[in-house]
Symmetry: C2
Protein backbone atom coordinates (compact mmCIF):
# COMPACT_ATOMS: atom_id res chain seq x y z
CA UNK A 1 0.00 0.00 0.00
CA UNK A 2 2.62 2.50 1.06
CA UNK A 3 4.94 1.44 -1.78
CA UNK A 4 2.14 2.13 -4.24
CA UNK A 5 1.50 5.48 -2.62
CA UNK A 6 5.20 6.33 -2.94
CA UNK A 7 5.13 5.46 -6.63
CA UNK A 8 2.11 7.68 -7.24
CA UNK A 9 3.89 10.47 -5.39
CA UNK A 10 7.08 10.00 -7.41
CA UNK A 11 5.16 10.06 -10.68
CA UNK A 12 3.40 13.24 -9.60
CA UNK A 13 6.75 14.85 -8.72
CA UNK A 14 8.28 13.70 -11.99
CA UNK A 15 5.38 15.29 -13.83
CA UNK A 16 6.05 18.52 -11.96
CA UNK A 17 9.51 18.45 -13.47
CA UNK A 18 11.54 17.34 -10.44
CA UNK A 19 14.66 15.70 -11.88
CA UNK A 20 15.29 13.58 -8.79
CA UNK A 21 11.91 11.95 -9.12
CA UNK A 22 12.57 11.24 -12.81
CA UNK A 23 15.97 9.78 -11.93
CA UNK A 24 14.50 7.55 -9.25
CA UNK A 25 11.85 6.23 -11.60
CA UNK A 26 14.47 5.40 -14.22
CA UNK A 27 16.53 3.66 -11.54
CA UNK A 28 13.52 1.47 -10.79
CA UNK A 29 13.48 0.61 -14.51
CA UNK A 30 17.20 -0.17 -14.70
CA UNK A 31 17.10 -2.27 -11.57
CA UNK A 32 13.95 -4.06 -12.71
CA UNK A 33 12.55 -3.15 -9.32
CA UNK A 34 9.61 -5.10 -7.95
CA UNK A 35 7.85 -1.72 -8.00
CA UNK A 36 8.07 -1.61 -11.81
CA UNK A 37 4.56 -2.95 -12.09
CA UNK A 38 3.20 -0.05 -10.05
CA UNK A 39 5.44 2.44 -11.81
CA UNK A 40 4.30 1.31 -15.25
CA UNK A 41 0.66 1.41 -14.25
CA UNK A 42 1.03 4.90 -12.81
CA UNK A 43 2.80 6.17 -15.93
CA UNK A 44 0.46 4.66 -18.52
CA UNK A 45 -2.24 7.37 -18.55
CA UNK A 46 0.36 10.10 -19.09
CA UNK A 47 2.27 8.65 -22.04
CA UNK A 48 2.09 9.11 -25.80
CA UNK A 49 2.93 12.79 -26.04
CA UNK A 50 6.72 12.85 -26.48
CA UNK A 51 8.47 12.64 -29.82
CA UNK A 52 10.90 9.75 -29.54
CA UNK A 53 14.02 10.32 -31.60
CA UNK A 54 16.73 7.73 -32.04
CA UNK A 55 20.27 8.91 -32.77
CA UNK A 56 22.70 6.23 -33.81
CA UNK A 57 26.09 5.86 -35.45
CA UNK A 58 29.45 4.14 -35.13
CA UNK A 59 31.93 5.23 -32.45
CA UNK A 60 33.75 8.40 -33.48
CA UNK A 61 31.10 10.04 -35.64
CA UNK A 62 30.33 12.62 -32.97
CA UNK A 63 27.14 11.32 -31.41
CA UNK A 64 27.60 13.00 -28.02
CA UNK A 65 28.47 16.35 -29.57
CA UNK A 66 25.49 16.11 -31.90
CA UNK A 67 23.23 15.17 -29.02
CA UNK A 68 24.40 18.24 -27.09
CA UNK A 69 23.81 20.46 -30.12
CA UNK A 70 20.35 19.00 -30.71
CA UNK A 71 19.45 19.55 -27.06
CA UNK A 72 20.49 23.20 -27.36
CA UNK A 73 18.47 23.59 -30.57
CA UNK A 74 15.34 22.05 -29.06
CA UNK A 75 15.74 24.20 -25.94
CA UNK A 76 15.96 27.23 -28.20
CA UNK A 77 12.63 26.17 -29.66
CA UNK A 78 11.10 25.96 -26.21
CA UNK A 79 11.01 22.18 -25.95
CA UNK A 80 11.81 20.11 -22.88
CA UNK A 81 14.27 17.37 -23.81
CA UNK A 82 15.07 14.05 -22.18
CA UNK A 83 18.19 12.17 -23.29
CA UNK A 84 18.86 8.47 -22.84
CA UNK A 85 22.44 7.53 -23.72
CA UNK A 86 22.61 3.82 -24.34
CA UNK A 87 26.15 2.54 -24.53
CA UNK A 88 26.37 -1.15 -24.00
CA UNK A 89 29.44 -1.78 -26.06
CA UNK A 90 32.34 -1.12 -23.81
CA UNK A 91 33.24 -1.27 -20.17
CA UNK A 92 36.17 1.02 -20.97
CA UNK A 93 34.44 4.04 -22.46
CA UNK A 94 31.78 4.04 -19.78
CA UNK A 95 33.68 6.28 -17.43
CA UNK A 96 34.48 8.99 -19.94
CA UNK A 97 30.94 9.06 -21.27
CA UNK A 98 29.57 9.38 -17.80
CA UNK A 99 31.81 12.40 -17.21
CA UNK A 100 30.34 13.96 -20.33
CA UNK A 101 26.84 13.40 -19.09
CA UNK A 102 27.58 14.89 -15.73
CA UNK A 103 28.95 18.03 -17.36
CA UNK A 104 25.88 18.27 -19.55
CA UNK A 105 23.68 17.65 -16.54
CA UNK A 106 25.34 20.47 -14.60
CA UNK A 107 24.73 22.76 -17.50
CA UNK A 108 21.06 21.99 -17.50
CA UNK A 109 19.79 23.34 -14.23
CA UNK A 110 16.59 24.61 -15.84
CA UNK A 111 14.84 21.20 -15.52
CA UNK A 112 14.09 21.51 -19.22
CA UNK A 113 16.81 18.95 -19.89
CA UNK A 114 17.28 15.55 -18.33
CA UNK A 115 20.19 13.32 -19.32
CA UNK A 116 20.75 9.76 -18.30
CA UNK A 117 23.26 7.10 -19.27
CA UNK A 118 21.54 3.76 -19.51
CA UNK A 119 23.92 1.06 -18.43
CA UNK A 120 23.57 -2.27 -20.06
CA UNK A 121 23.55 -4.52 -17.06
CA UNK A 122 24.63 -7.40 -19.20
CA UNK A 123 21.36 -9.16 -18.65
CA UNK A 124 19.95 -10.81 -21.69
CA UNK A 125 17.28 -8.51 -22.95
CA UNK A 126 18.44 -5.85 -20.51
CA UNK A 127 18.65 -3.00 -22.95
CA UNK A 128 15.68 -3.85 -25.06
CA UNK A 129 13.70 -4.23 -21.89
CA UNK A 130 14.80 -1.18 -19.97
CA UNK A 131 15.01 1.43 -22.72
CA UNK A 132 11.34 1.49 -23.76
CA UNK A 133 10.42 1.70 -20.08
CA UNK A 134 12.79 4.62 -19.53
CA UNK A 135 11.32 6.35 -22.60
CA UNK A 136 7.95 5.86 -20.96
CA UNK A 137 9.17 7.59 -17.77
CA UNK A 138 10.44 10.65 -19.66
CA UNK A 139 7.31 10.75 -21.80
CA UNK A 140 5.05 10.71 -18.74
CA UNK A 141 7.26 13.31 -17.05
CA UNK A 142 6.24 15.71 -19.79
CA UNK A 143 9.36 15.94 -21.92
CA UNK A 144 8.41 17.02 -25.43
CA UNK A 145 11.33 15.26 -27.02
CA UNK A 146 13.08 12.06 -25.92
CA UNK A 147 16.44 11.56 -27.60
CA UNK A 148 17.79 8.01 -27.46
CA UNK A 149 21.48 7.90 -28.34
CA UNK A 150 22.89 4.48 -29.22
CA UNK A 151 26.08 3.07 -30.64
CA UNK A 152 25.04 1.82 -34.04
CA UNK A 153 26.73 -1.54 -33.79
CA UNK A 154 24.95 -4.64 -32.69
CA UNK A 155 21.47 -5.92 -32.97
CA UNK A 156 20.09 -4.74 -29.66
CA UNK A 157 21.08 -1.15 -30.41
CA UNK A 158 19.46 -1.40 -33.82
CA UNK A 159 16.33 -2.63 -32.10
CA UNK A 160 16.43 0.23 -29.63
CA UNK A 161 16.90 2.80 -32.37
CA UNK A 162 14.22 1.12 -34.44
CA UNK A 163 11.81 1.71 -31.60
CA UNK A 164 11.96 5.48 -32.12
CA UNK A 165 9.38 7.55 -33.98
CA UNK A 166 12.21 9.00 -36.05
CA UNK A 167 15.70 7.56 -36.32
CA UNK A 168 18.63 9.80 -37.19
CA UNK A 169 21.69 7.96 -38.49
CA UNK A 170 24.98 9.77 -38.04
CA UNK A 171 28.05 9.12 -40.18
CA UNK A 172 31.38 10.84 -40.66
CA UNK A 173 33.53 11.22 -43.78
CA UNK A 174 36.36 8.80 -44.30
CA UNK A 175 35.17 6.09 -41.97
CA UNK A 176 34.53 3.47 -44.59
CA UNK A 177 31.45 5.42 -45.49
CA UNK A 178 28.31 3.88 -46.82
CA UNK A 179 29.59 0.37 -47.08
CA UNK A 180 29.92 0.20 -43.32
CA UNK A 181 26.48 1.70 -42.89
CA UNK A 182 25.07 -1.03 -45.08
CA UNK A 183 26.94 -3.73 -43.18
CA UNK A 184 25.72 -2.47 -39.86
CA UNK A 185 22.17 -2.58 -41.13
CA UNK A 186 21.58 1.09 -40.40
CA UNK A 187 20.48 2.02 -43.90
CA UNK A 188 17.18 0.29 -43.25
CA UNK A 189 16.47 2.02 -39.96
CA UNK A 190 17.41 5.60 -40.87
CA UNK A 191 14.70 8.21 -41.44
CA UNK A 192 17.20 11.06 -41.56
CA UNK A 193 20.88 10.66 -42.45
CA UNK A 194 23.51 13.14 -41.33
CA UNK A 195 27.15 13.26 -42.36
CA UNK A 196 28.76 14.99 -39.41
CA UNK A 197 32.27 16.48 -39.24
CA UNK A 198 31.52 18.04 -42.61
CA UNK A 199 34.69 20.15 -42.40
CA UNK A 200 36.68 17.02 -43.17
CA UNK A 201 37.69 15.71 -46.57
CA UNK A 202 35.35 13.38 -48.30
CA UNK A 203 31.98 14.76 -47.16
CA UNK A 204 30.68 15.06 -50.70
CA UNK A 205 31.65 11.55 -51.68
CA UNK A 206 30.21 10.09 -48.48
CA UNK A 207 26.91 11.90 -49.07
CA UNK A 208 26.87 10.82 -52.71
CA UNK A 209 27.62 7.20 -51.86
CA UNK A 210 24.98 7.23 -49.16
CA UNK A 211 22.31 8.63 -51.49
CA UNK A 212 23.29 6.05 -54.07
CA UNK A 213 23.02 3.18 -51.61
CA UNK A 214 19.69 4.47 -50.32
CA UNK A 215 18.39 4.58 -53.90
CA UNK A 216 19.51 0.98 -54.44
CA UNK A 217 18.03 -0.20 -51.18
CA UNK A 218 14.55 -1.22 -50.27
CA UNK A 219 13.39 2.11 -51.62
CA UNK A 220 11.70 4.93 -49.78
CA UNK A 221 9.56 4.10 -46.79
CA UNK A 222 6.07 3.74 -48.15
CA UNK A 223 3.23 5.53 -46.50
CA UNK A 224 -0.32 5.39 -47.70
CA UNK A 225 -0.99 5.61 -51.43
CA UNK A 226 2.38 6.63 -52.67
CA UNK A 227 2.84 9.21 -49.92
CA UNK A 228 6.31 7.93 -49.26
CA UNK A 229 9.19 9.26 -47.19
CA UNK A 230 12.52 9.76 -48.91
CA UNK A 231 15.15 9.88 -46.19
CA UNK A 232 17.14 13.11 -46.55
CA UNK A 233 20.95 13.10 -46.40
CA UNK A 234 22.15 16.16 -44.48
CA UNK A 235 25.52 17.50 -43.35
CA UNK A 236 26.60 19.04 -40.07
CA UNK A 237 29.50 20.23 -37.98
CA UNK A 238 28.00 19.58 -34.60
CA UNK A 239 30.97 20.97 -32.69
CA UNK A 240 30.21 24.40 -34.21
CA UNK A 241 26.44 23.97 -34.19
CA UNK A 242 26.31 24.02 -38.00
CA UNK A 243 23.50 22.13 -39.71
CA UNK A 244 21.74 21.34 -36.45
CA UNK A 245 18.63 23.42 -37.15
CA UNK A 246 18.28 21.59 -40.46
CA UNK A 247 18.35 18.24 -38.67
CA UNK A 248 15.59 19.34 -36.32
CA UNK A 249 13.59 20.65 -39.30
CA UNK A 250 13.97 17.30 -41.07
CA UNK A 251 12.83 15.47 -37.93
CA UNK A 252 9.81 17.77 -37.76
CA UNK A 253 8.98 17.09 -41.40
CA UNK A 254 9.25 13.40 -40.76
CA UNK A 255 6.92 13.77 -37.81
CA UNK A 256 4.34 15.53 -40.01
CA UNK A 257 4.65 12.68 -42.53
CA UNK A 258 4.30 10.07 -39.77
CA UNK A 259 1.07 11.66 -38.57
CA UNK A 260 -0.38 12.28 -42.04
CA UNK A 261 0.15 8.69 -43.17
CA UNK A 262 -0.85 6.99 -39.94
CA UNK A 263 2.68 5.61 -39.62
CA UNK A 264 3.12 7.18 -36.19
CA UNK A 265 0.40 5.06 -34.65
CA UNK A 266 1.72 2.12 -36.61
CA UNK A 267 5.26 2.49 -35.25
CA UNK A 268 4.05 3.02 -31.74
CA UNK A 269 1.94 -0.09 -31.87
CA UNK A 270 4.92 -2.09 -33.08
CA UNK A 271 6.98 -0.57 -30.26
CA UNK A 272 4.30 -1.35 -27.69
CA UNK A 273 3.98 -4.91 -28.97
CA UNK A 274 7.69 -5.55 -28.60
CA UNK A 275 7.63 -3.88 -25.19
CA UNK A 276 4.82 -6.17 -24.04
CA UNK A 277 6.67 -9.14 -25.48
CA UNK A 278 9.86 -8.18 -23.66
CA UNK A 279 8.04 -7.84 -20.35
CA UNK A 280 6.23 -11.14 -20.86
CA UNK A 281 9.58 -12.68 -21.69
CA UNK A 282 11.06 -11.26 -18.49
CA UNK A 283 8.19 -12.64 -16.45
CA UNK A 284 8.78 -16.09 -17.91
CA UNK A 285 12.49 -15.79 -17.35
CA UNK A 286 11.88 -14.88 -13.74
CA UNK A 287 9.84 -18.05 -13.40
CA UNK A 288 12.74 -20.07 -14.77
CA UNK A 289 15.07 -18.10 -12.54
CA UNK A 290 13.03 -19.18 -9.56
CA UNK A 291 13.92 -22.73 -10.46
CA UNK A 292 17.65 -22.03 -10.74
CA UNK A 293 18.59 -22.89 -7.20
CA UNK A 294 16.06 -25.65 -7.45
CA UNK A 295 16.98 -29.25 -6.79
CA UNK A 296 15.03 -30.19 -9.89
CA UNK A 297 17.25 -28.19 -12.26
CA UNK A 298 20.33 -29.48 -10.46
CA UNK A 299 19.29 -33.08 -10.80
CA UNK A 300 18.35 -32.54 -14.45
CA UNK A 301 21.78 -31.01 -15.07
CA UNK A 302 23.50 -33.93 -13.38
CA UNK A 303 21.64 -36.34 -15.63
CA UNK A 304 22.60 -34.29 -18.69
CA UNK A 305 26.28 -34.42 -17.70
CA UNK A 306 25.98 -38.18 -17.25
CA UNK A 307 24.49 -38.44 -20.76
CA UNK A 308 21.36 -40.03 -19.31
CA UNK A 309 19.09 -37.35 -20.74
CA UNK A 310 19.60 -34.76 -23.46
CA UNK A 311 19.32 -31.04 -22.68
CA UNK A 312 16.13 -30.61 -24.72
CA UNK A 313 14.32 -33.30 -22.83
CA UNK A 314 15.54 -31.68 -19.61
CA UNK A 315 14.30 -28.29 -20.79
CA UNK A 316 10.92 -29.78 -21.68
CA UNK A 317 10.65 -31.11 -18.19
CA UNK A 318 11.59 -27.72 -16.73
CA UNK A 319 9.07 -25.86 -18.88
CA UNK A 320 6.33 -28.35 -18.06
CA UNK A 321 6.87 -27.44 -14.42
CA UNK A 322 6.13 -23.76 -15.13
CA UNK A 323 2.63 -24.28 -16.43
CA UNK A 324 1.37 -25.54 -13.13
CA UNK B 1 11.02 -40.28 -39.45
CA UNK B 2 13.40 -39.72 -42.33
CA UNK B 3 14.64 -36.46 -40.81
CA UNK B 4 15.49 -38.38 -37.64
CA UNK B 5 17.26 -41.05 -39.68
CA UNK B 6 19.27 -38.32 -41.44
CA UNK B 7 20.30 -36.87 -38.08
CA UNK B 8 21.46 -40.28 -36.83
CA UNK B 9 23.41 -40.70 -40.06
CA UNK B 10 25.00 -37.27 -39.73
CA UNK B 11 26.01 -37.93 -36.14
CA UNK B 12 27.55 -41.24 -37.17
CA UNK B 13 29.50 -39.53 -39.97
CA UNK B 14 30.61 -36.74 -37.63
CA UNK B 15 31.88 -39.38 -35.21
CA UNK B 16 33.84 -40.96 -38.06
CA UNK B 17 35.58 -37.61 -38.43
CA UNK B 18 33.88 -36.28 -41.57
CA UNK B 19 34.20 -32.49 -41.34
CA UNK B 20 31.17 -31.85 -43.55
CA UNK B 21 28.94 -33.75 -41.19
CA UNK B 22 30.33 -31.78 -38.24
CA UNK B 23 29.81 -28.53 -40.13
CA UNK B 24 26.21 -29.42 -40.97
CA UNK B 25 25.42 -30.28 -37.37
CA UNK B 26 26.84 -26.96 -36.18
CA UNK B 27 24.77 -25.19 -38.83
CA UNK B 28 21.68 -26.82 -37.37
CA UNK B 29 22.74 -25.35 -34.03
CA UNK B 30 23.36 -21.87 -35.38
CA UNK B 31 20.10 -21.83 -37.30
CA UNK B 32 18.20 -23.22 -34.31
CA UNK B 33 16.87 -25.80 -36.74
CA UNK B 34 13.69 -27.68 -35.89
CA UNK B 35 15.93 -30.76 -36.04
CA UNK B 36 17.93 -29.54 -33.03
CA UNK B 37 15.87 -31.67 -30.72
CA UNK B 38 16.82 -34.81 -32.67
CA UNK B 39 20.41 -33.66 -33.02
CA UNK B 40 20.78 -33.05 -29.30
CA UNK B 41 19.23 -36.39 -28.43
CA UNK B 42 21.53 -38.21 -30.87
CA UNK B 43 24.62 -36.44 -29.49
CA UNK B 44 23.89 -36.89 -25.78
CA UNK B 45 25.28 -40.41 -25.30
CA UNK B 46 28.59 -39.45 -26.92
CA UNK B 47 29.41 -36.31 -24.95
CA UNK B 48 31.53 -35.60 -21.89
CA UNK B 49 34.93 -36.64 -23.18
CA UNK B 50 36.37 -33.42 -24.63
CA UNK B 51 38.35 -30.90 -22.63
CA UNK B 52 36.61 -27.58 -23.15
CA UNK B 53 39.08 -24.69 -23.07
CA UNK B 54 38.03 -21.07 -23.21
CA UNK B 55 40.48 -18.53 -24.63
CA UNK B 56 39.54 -14.92 -24.11
CA UNK B 57 41.10 -11.48 -24.25
CA UNK B 58 40.62 -7.97 -25.58
CA UNK B 59 41.02 -7.24 -29.31
CA UNK B 60 44.69 -6.99 -30.27
CA UNK B 61 46.22 -9.35 -27.72
CA UNK B 62 46.79 -12.01 -30.37
CA UNK B 63 43.98 -14.45 -29.74
CA UNK B 64 43.87 -15.87 -33.27
CA UNK B 65 47.64 -16.36 -33.42
CA UNK B 66 47.61 -18.01 -30.01
CA UNK B 67 44.74 -20.25 -31.04
CA UNK B 68 46.69 -21.36 -34.12
CA UNK B 69 49.76 -22.04 -32.01
CA UNK B 70 47.76 -23.99 -29.44
CA UNK B 71 46.17 -26.06 -32.20
CA UNK B 72 49.62 -26.92 -33.56
CA UNK B 73 50.86 -27.84 -30.07
CA UNK B 74 47.87 -30.09 -29.37
CA UNK B 75 48.26 -31.73 -32.79
CA UNK B 76 51.89 -32.37 -31.94
CA UNK B 77 50.67 -34.16 -28.83
CA UNK B 78 48.35 -36.32 -30.91
CA UNK B 79 45.11 -34.62 -29.91
CA UNK B 80 42.20 -33.83 -32.22
CA UNK B 81 41.18 -30.20 -31.79
CA UNK B 82 37.92 -28.39 -32.51
CA UNK B 83 37.90 -24.59 -32.48
CA UNK B 84 34.87 -22.35 -32.05
CA UNK B 85 35.65 -18.70 -32.71
CA UNK B 86 32.98 -16.56 -31.16
CA UNK B 87 33.14 -12.97 -32.26
CA UNK B 88 29.93 -11.14 -31.68
CA UNK B 89 31.35 -7.69 -31.21
CA UNK B 90 31.71 -6.27 -34.63
CA UNK B 91 30.19 -6.59 -38.07
CA UNK B 92 33.37 -4.99 -39.40
CA UNK B 93 36.01 -7.41 -38.23
CA UNK B 94 33.92 -10.39 -39.24
CA UNK B 95 35.29 -10.54 -42.74
CA UNK B 96 38.96 -10.52 -41.81
CA UNK B 97 38.46 -13.10 -39.12
CA UNK B 98 36.62 -15.35 -41.51
CA UNK B 99 39.55 -15.13 -43.91
CA UNK B 100 41.84 -16.23 -41.10
CA UNK B 101 39.63 -19.19 -40.35
CA UNK B 102 39.50 -20.27 -43.96
CA UNK B 103 43.28 -20.22 -44.16
CA UNK B 104 43.53 -22.24 -40.98
CA UNK B 105 40.87 -24.60 -42.28
CA UNK B 106 42.82 -25.17 -45.50
CA UNK B 107 45.86 -25.95 -43.44
CA UNK B 108 44.01 -28.63 -41.57
CA UNK B 109 43.22 -31.28 -44.14
CA UNK B 110 44.00 -34.05 -41.67
CA UNK B 111 40.52 -33.96 -40.10
CA UNK B 112 42.30 -33.70 -36.76
CA UNK B 113 41.38 -30.03 -36.70
CA UNK B 114 38.01 -28.42 -37.18
CA UNK B 115 37.57 -24.65 -37.05
CA UNK B 116 34.35 -22.75 -37.07
CA UNK B 117 33.43 -19.10 -36.66
CA UNK B 118 30.27 -18.82 -34.65
CA UNK B 119 28.30 -15.87 -35.84
CA UNK B 120 26.28 -14.04 -33.30
CA UNK B 121 22.99 -13.84 -35.09
CA UNK B 122 22.01 -10.94 -32.94
CA UNK B 123 19.22 -12.92 -31.38
CA UNK B 124 18.88 -12.39 -27.70
CA UNK B 125 20.53 -15.32 -26.08
CA UNK B 126 21.91 -16.37 -29.45
CA UNK B 127 25.47 -16.89 -28.36
CA UNK B 128 24.82 -18.30 -24.97
CA UNK B 129 22.37 -20.68 -26.55
CA UNK B 130 24.32 -21.81 -29.59
CA UNK B 131 27.84 -22.10 -28.20
CA UNK B 132 27.23 -24.86 -25.64
CA UNK B 133 25.34 -26.79 -28.31
CA UNK B 134 28.22 -26.42 -30.76
CA UNK B 135 30.66 -27.58 -28.06
CA UNK B 136 28.40 -30.61 -27.66
CA UNK B 137 28.66 -31.36 -31.40
CA UNK B 138 32.47 -31.25 -31.36
CA UNK B 139 32.60 -33.26 -28.15
CA UNK B 140 30.38 -35.99 -29.60
CA UNK B 141 32.39 -35.93 -32.84
CA UNK B 142 35.34 -37.15 -30.81
CA UNK B 143 37.55 -34.08 -30.58
CA UNK B 144 39.81 -34.37 -27.56
CA UNK B 145 40.06 -30.64 -27.09
CA UNK B 146 37.46 -27.97 -27.86
CA UNK B 147 38.93 -24.47 -27.90
CA UNK B 148 36.39 -21.68 -27.57
CA UNK B 149 37.90 -18.34 -28.56
CA UNK B 150 35.97 -15.25 -27.48
CA UNK B 151 36.50 -11.52 -27.36
CA UNK B 152 36.78 -10.77 -23.69
CA UNK B 153 34.47 -7.82 -23.67
CA UNK B 154 30.84 -8.07 -22.80
CA UNK B 155 28.79 -10.21 -20.54
CA UNK B 156 27.75 -12.90 -23.00
CA UNK B 157 31.37 -13.64 -23.89
CA UNK B 158 32.29 -13.85 -20.25
CA UNK B 159 29.43 -16.31 -19.83
CA UNK B 160 30.64 -18.36 -22.78
CA UNK B 161 34.20 -18.43 -21.51
CA UNK B 162 32.95 -19.20 -18.03
CA UNK B 163 31.32 -22.32 -19.43
CA UNK B 164 34.70 -23.88 -20.21
CA UNK B 165 36.48 -26.48 -18.08
CA UNK B 166 39.56 -24.25 -18.15
CA UNK B 167 39.62 -20.59 -19.13
CA UNK B 168 42.81 -19.02 -20.47
CA UNK B 169 42.88 -15.23 -20.29
CA UNK B 170 45.20 -13.55 -22.77
CA UNK B 171 46.68 -10.09 -22.25
CA UNK B 172 49.37 -8.05 -23.93
CA UNK B 173 51.85 -5.58 -22.47
CA UNK B 174 51.00 -1.91 -22.60
CA UNK B 175 47.30 -2.27 -23.18
CA UNK B 176 46.20 -0.73 -19.93
CA UNK B 177 47.26 -3.96 -18.30
CA UNK B 178 45.64 -5.40 -15.26
CA UNK B 179 43.31 -2.55 -14.57
CA UNK B 180 41.46 -3.26 -17.78
CA UNK B 181 41.40 -6.95 -17.00
CA UNK B 182 39.77 -6.15 -13.70
CA UNK B 183 37.24 -3.84 -15.33
CA UNK B 184 36.26 -6.41 -17.88
CA UNK B 185 35.69 -8.92 -15.13
CA UNK B 186 38.15 -11.43 -16.55
CA UNK B 187 40.26 -11.77 -13.43
CA UNK B 188 37.48 -13.82 -11.89
CA UNK B 189 37.08 -16.20 -14.81
CA UNK B 190 40.76 -16.93 -15.59
CA UNK B 191 42.29 -20.26 -14.61
CA UNK B 192 45.48 -19.55 -16.57
CA UNK B 193 46.74 -16.07 -17.45
CA UNK B 194 49.07 -15.45 -20.38
CA UNK B 195 50.82 -12.21 -21.27
CA UNK B 196 51.32 -12.61 -25.01
CA UNK B 197 53.58 -10.50 -27.24
CA UNK B 198 56.23 -10.91 -24.57
CA UNK B 199 58.86 -9.39 -26.89
CA UNK B 200 57.31 -6.01 -26.24
CA UNK B 201 58.20 -3.56 -23.51
CA UNK B 202 56.36 -3.84 -20.26
CA UNK B 203 55.90 -7.61 -20.03
CA UNK B 204 57.42 -7.81 -16.60
CA UNK B 205 55.34 -5.00 -15.17
CA UNK B 206 52.14 -6.40 -16.70
CA UNK B 207 52.86 -9.83 -15.21
CA UNK B 208 53.70 -8.28 -11.86
CA UNK B 209 50.60 -6.13 -11.81
CA UNK B 210 48.47 -9.10 -12.79
CA UNK B 211 49.90 -11.30 -10.05
CA UNK B 212 49.34 -8.48 -7.59
CA UNK B 213 45.73 -8.02 -8.62
CA UNK B 214 45.11 -11.74 -8.49
CA UNK B 215 46.50 -11.85 -4.96
CA UNK B 216 44.18 -9.00 -3.95
CA UNK B 217 41.16 -10.59 -5.57
CA UNK B 218 38.79 -13.20 -4.33
CA UNK B 219 41.81 -15.40 -3.71
CA UNK B 220 42.70 -18.70 -5.28
CA UNK B 221 39.91 -20.93 -6.45
CA UNK B 222 39.19 -23.22 -3.61
CA UNK B 223 38.91 -26.91 -4.17
CA UNK B 224 38.25 -29.41 -1.44
CA UNK B 225 39.99 -28.96 1.89
CA UNK B 226 42.54 -26.35 0.99
CA UNK B 227 43.46 -28.05 -2.29
CA UNK B 228 43.18 -24.74 -4.09
CA UNK B 229 44.18 -23.62 -7.58
CA UNK B 230 46.48 -20.65 -7.89
CA UNK B 231 46.10 -19.32 -11.42
CA UNK B 232 49.56 -19.16 -13.04
CA UNK B 233 50.66 -16.08 -14.95
CA UNK B 234 52.63 -17.14 -18.04
CA UNK B 235 54.25 -15.35 -20.96
CA UNK B 236 54.26 -16.17 -24.65
CA UNK B 237 55.18 -14.97 -28.10
CA UNK B 238 52.53 -16.87 -30.00
CA UNK B 239 53.69 -15.66 -33.41
CA UNK B 240 56.97 -17.53 -32.83
CA UNK B 241 55.41 -20.41 -30.94
CA UNK B 242 57.26 -19.45 -27.74
CA UNK B 243 55.64 -20.32 -24.44
CA UNK B 244 52.86 -22.33 -26.05
CA UNK B 245 53.92 -25.71 -24.65
CA UNK B 246 53.91 -24.13 -21.19
CA UNK B 247 50.32 -22.96 -21.70
CA UNK B 248 49.22 -26.46 -22.65
CA UNK B 249 51.09 -27.87 -19.65
CA UNK B 250 49.32 -25.41 -17.35
CA UNK B 251 45.96 -26.36 -18.85
CA UNK B 252 46.78 -30.03 -18.26
CA UNK B 253 47.72 -29.32 -14.65
CA UNK B 254 44.48 -27.45 -14.17
CA UNK B 255 42.63 -30.42 -15.62
CA UNK B 256 44.30 -32.75 -13.14
CA UNK B 257 43.30 -30.38 -10.33
CA UNK B 258 39.71 -30.19 -11.64
CA UNK B 259 39.42 -33.96 -11.60
CA UNK B 260 41.14 -34.46 -8.25
CA UNK B 261 38.92 -31.95 -6.46
CA UNK B 262 35.65 -32.87 -8.12
CA UNK B 263 35.49 -29.39 -9.66
CA UNK B 264 35.27 -30.80 -13.18
CA UNK B 265 31.93 -32.45 -12.53
CA UNK B 266 30.89 -29.36 -10.64
CA UNK B 267 31.67 -27.02 -13.54
CA UNK B 268 30.03 -29.30 -16.03
CA UNK B 269 26.87 -29.48 -13.98
CA UNK B 270 26.76 -25.70 -13.78
CA UNK B 271 27.29 -25.58 -17.55
CA UNK B 272 24.57 -28.15 -18.17
CA UNK B 273 22.17 -26.30 -15.90
CA UNK B 274 22.64 -23.04 -17.77
CA UNK B 275 22.33 -24.91 -21.05
CA UNK B 276 19.03 -26.45 -19.98
CA UNK B 277 17.86 -23.06 -18.76
CA UNK B 278 18.78 -21.44 -22.08
CA UNK B 279 16.89 -24.05 -24.05
CA UNK B 280 13.87 -23.81 -21.78
CA UNK B 281 14.03 -20.06 -22.20
CA UNK B 282 14.15 -20.48 -25.98
CA UNK B 283 11.14 -22.78 -25.90
CA UNK B 284 9.17 -20.21 -23.94
CA UNK B 285 10.33 -17.46 -26.23
CA UNK B 286 9.17 -19.47 -29.22
CA UNK B 287 5.77 -19.73 -27.62
CA UNK B 288 5.63 -15.96 -27.24
CA UNK B 289 6.93 -15.66 -30.78
CA UNK B 290 3.99 -17.70 -31.96
CA UNK B 291 1.77 -15.01 -30.57
CA UNK B 292 3.62 -12.20 -32.32
CA UNK B 293 1.55 -12.11 -35.47
CA UNK B 294 -1.39 -12.78 -33.23
CA UNK B 295 -4.38 -10.49 -33.14
CA UNK B 296 -4.30 -10.68 -29.37
CA UNK B 297 -0.85 -9.11 -29.05
CA UNK B 298 -1.80 -6.51 -31.64
CA UNK B 299 -4.92 -5.50 -29.80
CA UNK B 300 -3.03 -5.44 -26.50
CA UNK B 301 -0.40 -3.19 -28.09
CA UNK B 302 -3.07 -0.86 -29.45
CA UNK B 303 -4.58 -0.54 -25.99
CA UNK B 304 -1.13 0.17 -24.52
CA UNK B 305 -0.56 2.95 -27.06
CA UNK B 306 -3.96 4.39 -26.19
CA UNK B 307 -2.98 4.37 -22.51
CA UNK B 308 -5.96 2.13 -21.73
CA UNK B 309 -3.78 -0.59 -20.26
CA UNK B 310 -0.20 -0.61 -19.00
CA UNK B 311 2.42 -2.88 -20.60
CA UNK B 312 2.73 -5.09 -17.51
CA UNK B 313 -0.95 -5.85 -17.43
CA UNK B 314 -0.76 -6.61 -21.15
CA UNK B 315 2.21 -8.92 -20.57
CA UNK B 316 0.35 -10.69 -17.77
CA UNK B 317 -2.48 -11.34 -20.14
CA UNK B 318 -0.09 -12.63 -22.79
CA UNK B 319 1.68 -14.96 -20.36
CA UNK B 320 -1.61 -16.25 -18.99
CA UNK B 321 -2.42 -17.37 -22.53
CA UNK B 322 0.72 -19.53 -22.65
CA UNK B 323 -0.16 -21.74 -19.75
CA UNK B 324 -3.17 -23.18 -21.49
Amino acid sequence: MSATADVAGLVAKAREGQPRAVARLISFVEDASPLMRDVTAALAPHTGHAMVIGLTGAPGVGKSTTTSALVAEYRGRGKRVGVLAVDPSSPFSGGALLGDRIRMQDHATDSGVFIRSMASRGHLGGLSWATPQAIRVLDAAGFDVVLVETVGVGQSEVEVAGAADTTVVLLAPGMGDGVQAAKAGILEIGDVFVVNKADRDGVESTMRELRHMLSLGSGPRSGSDGDSWVAPVLRSIASRGEGIAEIVDAIDEHRVWLERTGQLLNRRQVRAASEVEAIAFGLLRARIGDLSGDARLESLAARVVAGAIDPYAAADSLVAGLSN
